[in-house]
Symmetry: C2
Subunit: 191 residues, 2 copies
DNA sequence: CATCCTATTGACTGACCAGTCAATTTACGT
DNA sequence: ACGTAAATTGACTGGTCAGTCAATAGGATG
């Protein structure tokens, strides 16, 4: 009788992600989430104390997944430039392959109502990036600028690049856009 | 007896702007908007058919104001570079001087529920930018890249720069950040 | 003053929705 | 089989909120 598959909790999270990106946090009633996930209303509130708790959990999960994907393989690279370029490719690739998660994160980041703690925890995943930049500056590979400025500008430039690359129609075109976009960013920061 | 001052309609729009940036679209009941604006509930719906209509109107108004501020004086500049740099300064200055409007626009841009028509109308104010970029490419001042990519990346880089500059504590520091940030952008696009 | 149109009011309504809870089922250890 | 705790159910509730409407006021015009 019992579905063997993954937890209902996971089903709820996955369904919520889709619905939130389609209809926004407030446009998505919890009743719809549970219905689409194939569980009862009560079950949702068994796993998550409140709706906000659900959103928070989802955000932490997605953000740490994104951070993990971005870091993949950068320890193998030696120069700061190579590390940053690898990181850029990772970030853009992840963003394009996970449009829903990307949209969710952006929506969340610009919502004024969300818990500051989740915001800060989210940021913390990317602090290594600031160190990386500082390292690059010390070694003379990167221009001498306020690291926080570079951090902000990189983050937003990535988001613009992902948005732009997602519009591409063919795979070739997309690769070209990504390369050009990463070039744009690197030209901006190199010494 | 009659308040001589500006329309109630304007009071509603101004109040809505503040409340939306503080509490989000959905976290702000229309009843609160009318109360804070000093008008009755009915008055709000006399001027705006629905809540969405109010948000839409506000968006169009803010966006066109932003576009106007950005363009100020660019016709006086001759080269594409000078035009773009003037535009950059204008954009950042406006964003810093109007944090509420800035926040509102970003929130709106990332909300999945809003009318596509407003989105498109908003974009249309900035199409001249694409032409400007294309012109710069033709004259060899700007690298040969997909204009849409440049457009997206400039827009997001501006937003990152404004966010970063808003964090500055002293005016001097802010000027430095803005100059560095605009440099970053220009280095990324110049031929 | 009578007529008409626009602006304004706020009590009210119908719908919706987050979260509760008592009852039921499942899983598992003994 | 039995007991127990965790998981699951869905009807229900209390509150909230977008939008309505009948009533009123003000100003303009003749």
């Amino acid at each position: 009788m019992r579905e063997p598959g993954p937890d209902k909790q996971e089903a709820i999270l996955a369904t919520a992600l889709t619905l939130f990106t389609e209809r926004g946090f407030f446009g998505t009633p919890t009743s719809l989430i549970s219905k689409e996930a194939g569980v009862a209303t009560g079950t949702l509130f068994f796993y998550f104390k409140t709706k906000e708790d659900l959103i928070d959990t989802l955000y932490r999960q997605v953000k740490s997944e994104a951070a993990l994907a971005m870091c993949r393989g950068i320890e193998k690279e030696k120069t700061a430039q190579a590390k940053l370029q690898r990181l850029g490719h990772n970030a853009v690739a992840w963003g394009i392959q996970n449009p829903a998660k990307m949209k969710f994160m952006e929506q969340f980041a610009h919502s004024p109502f969300v818990s500051t703690s989740a915001h800060e925890e989210g940021m913390s995943h990317f602090l290594f990036l600031k160190d990386l930049v500082q390292d690059g500056i010390k070694k003379g590979e990167i221009r001498t600028v306020e690291p926080m400025l570079l951090f902000c500008m990189m983050a937003s430039a990535f988001s613009g690049l992902i948005a732009s690359a997602s519009l591409a129609e063919t795979a070739d075109e997309r690769v070209k856009i990504i390369d050009e976009g990463l070039d744009f960013i690197w030209n901006g920061m190199k010494a």
